[in-house]
Symmetry: C2
Subunit: 180 residues, 2 copies
């Protein structure tokens, strides 16, 4: 596919931006249809000026009831959360919320494929971790286990995602490997 191997370094893009570009590429290349769920906003006050667009004058951020991204790939429902950490040695589970775990559990129970994409900024590496493995760490923290996923574990349990020029966070190959 003429992709160029490279690294994530010094590109000044957030993980979410890289995934958004990947999704654009997947859509145009007819690989998958995946969109970012917009941030939910509670709108309190809107101005409707004559001859111009409505202006929201007062609004508040609401907690999302889902994860960041969802869509369809090879006939399957996919759903995932993207998280970036500056931590060198582990991914703190405090980055994930209970309601996101609940949402992913429910989606998987109905046959969806859920996962998280974690970027270790210092290592310039991005990992794909299937929800089932995330759930294991999530549960373990309430049974006296650690409250983070060690970087060394992620290297073993997760899939390192390659950077490609167009598919900057190329998670489709990991899906192929793990679920198809």
């Amino acid at each position: 596919q003429g992709k160029t191997q490279a690294t994530f370094s010094n590109r000044g893009m957030t993980l979410e931006e890289d995934i958004a570009l990947t999704n654009d590429y997947y859509r145009h290349a007819n690989i998958a249809i995946v969109h970012k769920n917009p941030t939910p906003i509670q709108i309190v006050n809107v101005d409707y000026p004559k001859r111009s667009a409505a202006v929201i004058k007062e609004a508040y951020f609401k907690q999302a009831s889902t994860t960041d991204f969802n869509g369809v790939y090879r006939g399957r429902y996919i759903d995932f959360e993207a998280k970036e950490t500056k931590n060198k040695t582990s991914f703190p589970l405090s980055n994930i919320h209970q309601h996101q775990i609940d949402h992913m559990r429910a989606c998987e129970a109905h046959g969806g494929i859920c996962f998280i994409i974690v970027k270790f900024a210092i290592h310039e590496e991005v990992y794909f971790l299937p929800a089932a493995k995330l759930f294991w760490y999530w549960n373990d923290q309430f049974q006296g286990g650690r409250k983070s996923i060690p970087y060394d574990h992620m290297k073993v349990e997760g899939e390192l995602l390659p950077f490609h020029y167009q598919a900057r966070v190329d998670y489709a190959a990991a899906l192929d490997k793990l679920y198809f």
Copy 2:
């Protein structure tokens, strides 16, 4: 399931609200996981007052790139748009946007199930119309056909959705009938 048959009359709820309640019921009853996509907002200016929540002071509505709802049902990706019309004799296709058609086409091409839910307010009836049938009317309008779906056609081509106390727009049964 102890549902009560009734009508949509005089309940003062919008179609979107009825679907939101249906989705809540489906989620709690472990039938499907479906969420409304939040309205996308372009945020221009945010205030961060001390000791209280961030206030969005200037923002604008953006056009959504997807449809209203998506999720997973019986292992399949589902995606749909909900529309209400006060028109008595037809559903004007101007209620649907080209980008929503494109999105539904793409999702169906990847194995998703797409449809629209149309409420005829005057008739107090709600119909489920599969995307394939919508596409037929959509294309036909550019080939000299009518720019709306006649109510009489909807009665034949669509599935009349029953009102149930908890599943107020009970689209799961239509999915079972048409796709499983």
